[in-house]
């Protein structure tokens, strides 16, 4: 199941991307004769057919051999998440400003966008973008489709975070600053921004982790990220359980790492009195 060979036909007939992702699952789950050969449960043919398979022997050798693919997948996951986060933060700042202090029709459009994205599944959004955009002449590869989907999805959630931060600052604060003789830029820089950041930054950290975990769904269109890598590896080695455990462990370590990192950043930036 070579990656380059797999992604071309995926674009040609629309559904093959997902079919390819499921091909591997079907391979290991469906027919009994196939399964017996596949060694998914009975390593090296040690246990006769029909006996209990409880004595599964983990075999991580193939996983170690596939470490380069895991690493490449992890890097792609990180790259997709980081790019999507930065882009959606930029969109979110504009969107939140439009929502709070822009003209009314624009605010309504942003609100509708946020509601539509937040009330439909990410998987459907990915399909819409990956299969839909090529029909209007925008050719995408799987990674580009995944990135666009992650940005569109992530910015809806980020808009709400930024908006909540801006709205949490009372009018009195701004009026007070004006009364003290600060001009507009000073008011924003010295009064509004420090308080808003305090409210915005903690949920942004969780949003990044959610986005990273969510990016696994991009495996449905065979983007080159970690979950796709695990699917490819299990399709080749028939070691489904091991491949998914390794991938899950990598995601787990990443999310622990980032939550520790963000907590540290918050402590450095805002002192210890961070209220969540």
């Amino acid at each position: 199941m070579s990656r380059s060979g797999g992604s071309l036909p995926a674009r040609a007939d629309g559904g093959a991307g997902i079919a390819r992702a499921c091909e591997a699952t079907a391979l290991c789950s469906a027919a009994a004769p196939k399964a017996a050969v596949s060694s998914r449960a009975v390593p090296r043919g040690a246990v006769p057919v029909g006996t209990s398979r409880m004595n599964y022997i983990f075999h991580f050798g193939d996983m170690w051999n596939a470490r380069d693919e895991f690493i490449a997948g992890t890097l792609m996951t990180l790259r997709l998440s980081a790019l999507a986060m930065v882009a959606s933060l930029a969109i979110a700042i504009l969107g939140a400003l439009a929502r709070t202090s822009g003209p009314k029709p624009l605010g309504l459009i942003v609100a509708a966008y946020v509601e539509i994205i937040r009330n439909t599944p990410f998987l459907v959004q990915i399909f819409m973008i990956f299969f839909g955009l090529p029909t209007v002449g925008l050719r995408l590869d799987a990674d580009e489709g995944a990135l666009i989907a992650l940005i569109l999805n992530g910015s809806a959630y980020t808009i709400e975070i930024v908006r909540a931060g801006i709205e949490a600052i009372g009018h009195g604060q701004v009026e007070g600053a004006m009364a003290l003789g600060l001009h507009r830029l000073q008011t924003f820089r010295l009064v509004v921004l420090p308080q808003a950041l305090r409210i915005i930054v903690p949920p942004l950290g969780s949003q990044f982790i959610l986005l990273m975990l969510n990016s696994s769904v991009c495996a449905a269109i065979s983007a080159d990220e970690l979950t796709s890598a695990a699917l490819d590896i299990q399709g080749r080695t028939f070691r489904a359980f091991e491949a998914f455990i390794v991938a899950a462990a990598i995601y787990f370590v990443l999310s622990l790492l980032f939550s520790t990192l963000f907590a540290g950043i918050e402590r450095l930036a805002f002192g210890k009195k961070v209220t969540r």
């Binding site: 998914r40 449960a41 398979r53 599944p121 995601y251």
Partner: protein, 217 residues
């Protein structure tokens, strides 16, 4: 390739029944798991508490898709082939259990300690204390985020499509493969999800506002 017809629309709507059913069953299963996890999480004993913390961390720190894959293949591996439907139900229930457990833990812990001490002083044992004193008070706080989580759960059921279970999203894929009208088909699929989720979103934010108002006084 063929064109879309009204039969296809019915096919989508019929598949949507599976999405609803899956959401309801996963919510019931997740509720049971979540209640257990929340109680373990607030327990005085260290071991159950650590177990609950670990459970929540693992399920919140890994992608749901991989959890579903692991249940799907894990069942096979230990000799109980679950099939797509049961794997998705089990996987979603465990995942929902972790999230609901965390939500309900917060609600339980928001009940002032004095209430529990008073209940204990009145001679109520653990069951009665929880059932008659803690839960009724925790419920008020728990309901808005629980309704909000239901939206997430409905959206999560779409991942069943990747395992191969035919619910709304998978039905959309099948139609798209046959007719190749992605914008129309996935637009309709998204619309059905939206119709299911939006009322819940609105309800959750209204409940939240009402609760916030009650605490302002």
């Amino acid at each position: 390739m063929r064109s879309l017809n009204t039969g296809d629309l019915f096919y989508l709507l019929l598949a949507a029944r599976w999405t609803v059913l899956l959401s309801l069953i996963a919510f019931a299963g997740g509720g049971a798991v979540g209640l257990g996890i929340a109680l373990l999480r607030v327990s005085q004993a260290r071991l159950p508490r650590w177990f609950a913390i670990g459970f929540i961390r693992v399920f919140q720190g890994t992608p749901l898709l991989l959890q579903l894959f692991l249940v799907f293949f894990g069942g096979d591996m230990i000799g109980i082939p679950l099939g797509a439907w049961l794997s998705v139900v089990l996987g979603l229930s465990l995942n929902a259990g972790a999230f609901l457990g965390e939500i309900w833990r917060g609600a339980i812990q928001s009940v002032p300690n004095g209430q529990i001490e008073a209940a204990r002083a009145l001679g109520l044992h653990y069951g009665a204390r929880m059932l008659r004193v803690v839960f009724p008070q925790a419920m008020r706080i728990a309901i808005p985020p629980t309704v909000g989580f239901l939206v997430n759960l409905i959206k999560s059921t779409s991942l069943a499509a990747i395992i191969g279970f035919v619910e709304l999203t998978r039905a959309g894929q099948q139609l798209n493969n046959a007719t190749f009208r992605p914008f129309v088909i996935f637009g309709l699929v998204a619309l059905v999800y939206f119709v299911m989720c939006w009322p819940l979103t609105i309800a959750a934010s209204r409940l939240e506002k009402r609760l916030a108002l009650a605490y302002k006084r």
